[in-house]
C-alpha cells in the first residue's frame, strides 16, 4: 500500500457543506477511540479520530479498488450514534454528526448498505419502518379506548413506531396508557396522523425522508393544537426537542420517565405492590448521554418496594455501552462476533440481576432478542411495564379494563 495520500480538498468541502463542520475542531487526541463501544469488542477496531483526519485531507472512501471502497463505506455506516465520542471529546466534536454528513452524500448516490434501502422505502411509504399500514397505528390504543387527541387534552402521547405495531412492544404502550389513566393524566394519540419521528433515517443520511417525516408530524401537531408531547422512545424525544427546528418552540416534549417520576413524587402514581427482585437498569444512549436523563428512571425503580437496584459496574450512566440498535442498527446484519448487543448483554448478565429494565423500545427489542439468543433467563422489561406491575399489582394483567 502506498504511503502517499492524495489530498482532495473538494471532498472535505463537500462533507463540511453536508453538515460535517465539526471535523475542523478535532486535534487528534484519540480519546474518542477509547470511548467508542466498537473498540470494546475483541474483533472490531474503529479508528474514530482517523475519520476526522482523513476527512480533513479529503482522503476518505477515496480508493479506486472495489474492496477498499466497500470496507470504507461499511465503516462509515458502522457508527450507531451513541455519542460516547462526543462526551469524551475535549472539543465536543460529534463524530456521529460528521459521519452523518458523509452518509448524506453516499445515500444521495445510492452507495450505502442495501439492508437499509428497503427499510427506508417502507418508512417513506407507510410512515413506519415496519411497513405496516398507517391505519393500524392506533389499533393498540383503540382496543383500550384511548381517545384521539384534540386540542382539549393535555398530552399527545407519541408511542413510537415499534410499540405502536410490534406485538411484544405494544405492552409498553399499553402499560404507559394504563399508568396515565391511573394518574388521571389527560392524553390522547393521533394514530394515522403520526409519522415516524425520523431520527434513525436522519442518522443514516436519508435527509429527504427525514424532512418529509418532520413536515408530516409538525403539520399534525399544528392541526391538532398540540402543546405537550409525551414520548416513550428517547429517539423521538431527542428528535422533537433538538432536530425538529421547524416546530413551534412552544410545543414541549417530555419523556415518560420524567413524567412518571414526577407523578410518583406527587403521589398520583403509587407503586405499592412489591417486586422482590434484583433489577439492573441499562441507560439507553439517547436518554442518558444525549438527553442527560439518568436520575428519573432510577428514582422510579427505587420507589418500587422490595426492588433491589444494581448497576453495571463502571459502565453505567454516562459510560453505558450502546446496545447497537441506533442508526438503524435493528436492521443491520453484523457477523456474530461483531455485535455490540452481545457485549452489553454479557456485562448485564454479570451483575446477576433477575430483571433488566430499559427505557427505550430499541434497547428493549435488541437486548431481548440478544438475551434469547444467549439462552439467558434474565427477564427484560421496559420501565413502564415494571412500574405498572407495581402500581396495579394483581390487576396488571387486566390492562384493558384498567385503561
Amino acid at each position: 500500500m502506498s504511503n502517499v495520500i492524495k489530498l482532495n480538498p473538494e471532498i472535505r468541502e463537500a462533507i463540511i457543506e453536508s453538515g460535517g463542520q465539526d471535523v475542523i475542531k478535532c486535534y487528534q487526541c484519540g480519546r474518542c477511540m477509547a470511548a467508542c463501544p466498537w473498540n470494546l469488542l475483541e474483533n472490531t477496531e474503529y479508528a474514530t479520530y482517523r475519520f476526522c483526519q482523513r476527512i480533513r485531507l479529503g482522503a476518505i472512501i477515496d480508493s479506486e479498488e472495489k474492496e477498499d471502497i466497500a470496507a470504507d463505506t461499511i465503516d462509515v455506516f458502522r457508527c450507531v450514534g451513541c455519542d460516547s465520542c462526543r462526551r469524551e471529546c475535549p472539543r465536543g466534536v460529534s463524530l456521529s454528526d460528521v459521519l452523518r454528513a458523509v452518509r448524506r452524500i453516499l445515500v444521495d448516490y445510492d452507495s450505502y448498505p442495501s439492508e437499509l434501502k428497503s427499510v427506508i422505502s417502507r418508512l417513506y411509504s407507510t410512515g413506519n419502518p415496519l411497513g405496516e399500514s398507517a391505519e393500524q397505528r392506533s389499533a393498540w390504543a383503540d382496543e383500550l379506548g384511548v381517545p384521539r387527541f384534540d386540542g382539549n387534552y393535555e398530552y399527545l402521547y407519541f408511542a413510537c413506531c415499534i410499540p405502536s405495531y410490534d406485538s411484544r412492544t405494544q405492552i409498553v404502550a399499553k402499560a404507559t396508557a394504563a399508568l396515565l389513566k391511573k394518574a388521571h393524566v389527560s392524553f390522547g394519540i393521533l394514530g394515522e396522523q403520526e409519522f415516524c419521528c425520523g431520527e434513525a433515517v436522519r442518522r443514516v443520511g436519508a435527509e429527504k425522508v427525514f424532512q418529509t417525516a418532520m413536515k408530516c408530524n409538525i403539520d399534525s401537531f399544528n392541526k391538532n393544537h398540540v402543546k405537550k408531547i409525551l414520548t416513550t422512545s428517547p429517539h423521538c424525544q431527542l428528535t422533537f426537542t433538538k432536530e425538529y427546528t421547524d416546530k413551534d418552540p412552544d410545543i414541549a416534549s417530555v419523556h415518560v420517565t420524567q413524567l412518571f417520576s414526577h407523578l410518583i413524587i406527587k403521589k398520583r402514581l403509587v407503586p405499592k405492590y412489591p417486586i422482590n427482585k434484583k433489577v439492573v437498569y441499562h441507560d439507553p444512549c439517547t436518554l442518558g448521554r444525549q438527553l442527560d436523563i439518568y436520575d428519573e428512571p432510577r428514582a422510579i425503580l427505587k420507589s418500587i418496594p422490595g426492588l433491589k437496584l444494581v448497576e453495571v459496574p463502571v459502565f453505567n450512566r454516562e459510560l453505558s455501552v450502546c446496545c447497537g440498535a441506533g442508526a438503524m442498527g435493528l436492521w443491520r446484519d453484523w457477523p456474530q462476533d461483531e455485535r455490540l448487543a452481545h457485549f452489553r448483554a454479557q456485562q448485564i448478565l454479570k451483575t446477576g440481576a433477575d430483571v433488566l429494565v430499559v427505557a427505550c423500545p430499541y434497547c428493549l427489542q435488541m437486548l431481548e432478542e440478544t438475551m434469547k439468543s444467549l439462552n439467558a433467563s434474565i427477564e427484560i422489561m421496559d420501565i413502564a411495564e415494571i412500574l405498572w406491575s407495581s402500581v396495579a399489582g394483581p390487576e396488571q394483567e387486566k390492562i384493558d379494563e384498567a385503561a
Binding site: G131, S167, D333, Q336
Partner: protein, 327 residues
C-alpha cells in the same frame, strides 16, 4: 380460415408444461375468433412429441431437423419469421419462459408486429386484442390494449391457464426445415446442470422455505432446527440466494426449482409470482407471514398471520412433542 399459432416448448426431449397451458389458451381464443389453432413444433425426432399434441390443436405444424434439437433463439426466429410470413396467423402465442424472453420481442420486432409479454390473460374484443398483465412488483394488474394489426405475438406467463384435455381432431403437417445449420452468430453449446449439492429439494416430502422475512442469515439456524424436527429440507426464495445465505440449489421458483412436496411451509415469503410458479404442485401449502395481504395467502391452503419468529419455535416444539408421544 384464420389461424392462431402456439409455439411448442421442449427441452431435452420433454415437452414443457407451459405448452399445454398455451394450447388451452389458444383453443379458447380460436373458438372466440372462429379460428384454427396450430401447434408449431420445431424439433428433432419429434414423433413422440407430436403424439402428445393430439387433440390439443387443429393442426400440428412440424419442422423436424437436427438443428432444432435444442432451443436457439436465432434459429427459432429465422424459422418462425418464415412460417408467420407465409401463414399470417392472427396471433402467435409463446410462453414467457427463458425461451420466450429471448424470442418474443426479437421475432415481433423483426416482423414489425405488435407484441406484449408476460400476460396473465388474453382476450379478443372483436379483432382487437386486450391483455391483463401485472405491474409494480406484482401489486397491481394492468389492462393493456395492443394497437390494431392483423397479427400479434404475445407471451403468456406460466401457471395462468389450467391445461385442459383437448378433443380436437388433429392434422399433422410437416414442413421442410428452412435451416440446416445453426446460425452464424449464435450457437447453442450445452446445458449445464446445477451443481449436485448435498440436497435435492425436489425429492423432499417436506420443504421449509424462507424468504426475506427471515431478516438475517443467523436466523436460518432456527429454520434448520424446525426442518430437522419435521424431517424436511430447507429451501428459499430468490432474494436469499442473491444475498448468498443459501446456495442456488435451494431456490424455489421460476428460475430455481419446482417442488411438489406433500407439505410446503413458506416462512416470511410474500408470494411474488416468480416464487409461486415453483410451488403450484405442492399438496399442502402453509404460509406464515405477518402481512395479512401478502399474495402468498392466495396460494396457500393454510395461513398463519403472525410473526414467524414466534411461530417457528412453537411449531417445532409441537412436532417434537408429537414425535415423542408417538414413541
Amino acid at each position: 380460415m384464420a389461424e392462431i399459432f402456439a409455439l411448442v416448448e421442449h427441452r431435452q426431449g420433454t415437452i414443457r408444461d407451459i405448452t399445454f397451458e398455451l394450447l388451452t389458451c389458444g383453443r379458447k381464443l380460436a373458438a372466440d375468433r372462429n379460428a384454427q389453432l396450430t401447434a408449431v413444433l420445431l424439433g428433432n425426432d419429434a414423433g413422440s412429441m407430436v403424439d402428445q399434441m393430439k387433440g390439443k390443436a387443429h393442426t400440428v405444424l412440424v419442422v423436424d431437423h437436427e438443428v432444432y434439437k435444442d432451443f436457439n433463439a436465432e434459429t427459432y426466429q429465422i424459422t418462425l419469421s418464415e412460417l408467420i410470413g407465409q401463414r399470417s396467423p392472427i396471433l402467435t402465442l409463446i410462453g414467457h419462459t427463458a425461451c420466450g424472453y429471448d424470442l418474443c420481442p426479437a421475432l415481433a420486432t423483426q416482423l414489425a408486429v405488435p407484441y406484449t409479454t408476460d400476460c396473465l390473460e388474453i382476450s379478443f374484443d372483436g379483432e382487437h386484442v386486450s391483455v391483463i398483465r401485472q405491474m409494480y412488483d406484482g401489486k397491481l394488474n394492468a389492462q393493456v390494449r395492443l394497437r390494431d394489426h392483423p397479427s400479434y405475438i404475445i407471451s403468456l406467463r406460466s401457471g395462468c391457464y389450467v391445461p385442459e384435455e383437448g378433443s380436437l381432431s388433429t392434422q399433422i403437417e410437416t414442413i421442410d426445415a428452412p435451416l440446416s445449420t445453426q446460425p452464424e452468430h449464435r450457437k447453442f453449446l450445452e446445458f449445464i446442470e446445477a451443481a449436485a449439492g448435498e440436497v435435492d429439494i425436489t425429492k423432499a416430502d417436506v420443504v421449509i422455505s424462507v424468504g426475506r422475512g427471515i431478516k438475517e442469515q443467523a436466523n436460518l439456524e432456527m429454520v434448520k432446527d424446525f426442518a430437522n424436527a419435521v424431517g424436511g429440507v430447507v429451501a428459499c426464495s430468490r432474494p436469499i440466494v442473491d444475498a448468498g445465505w443459501l446456495p442456488k440449489e435451494r431456490q424455489v421458483g421460476s428460475s430455481g426449482k419446482t417442488v411438489k412436496p406433500k407439505l410446503y411451509v413458506a416462512l416470511g415469503i410474500s408470494g411474488a409470482f416468480q416464487h409461486i410458479v415453483g410451488i403450484k404442485g405442492a399438496d399442502t401449502i402453509i404460509a406464515v407471514n405477518k402481512d395479512a395481504n401478502a399474495p402468498i395467502f392466495n396460494e396457500a391452503d393454510y395461513g398463519i398471520v403472525e410473526d414467524l419468529f414466534k411461530v417457528v419455535p412453537a411449531l417445532k416444539n409441537k412436532i417434537v412433542e408429537l414425535k415423542q408421544a408417538k414413541g
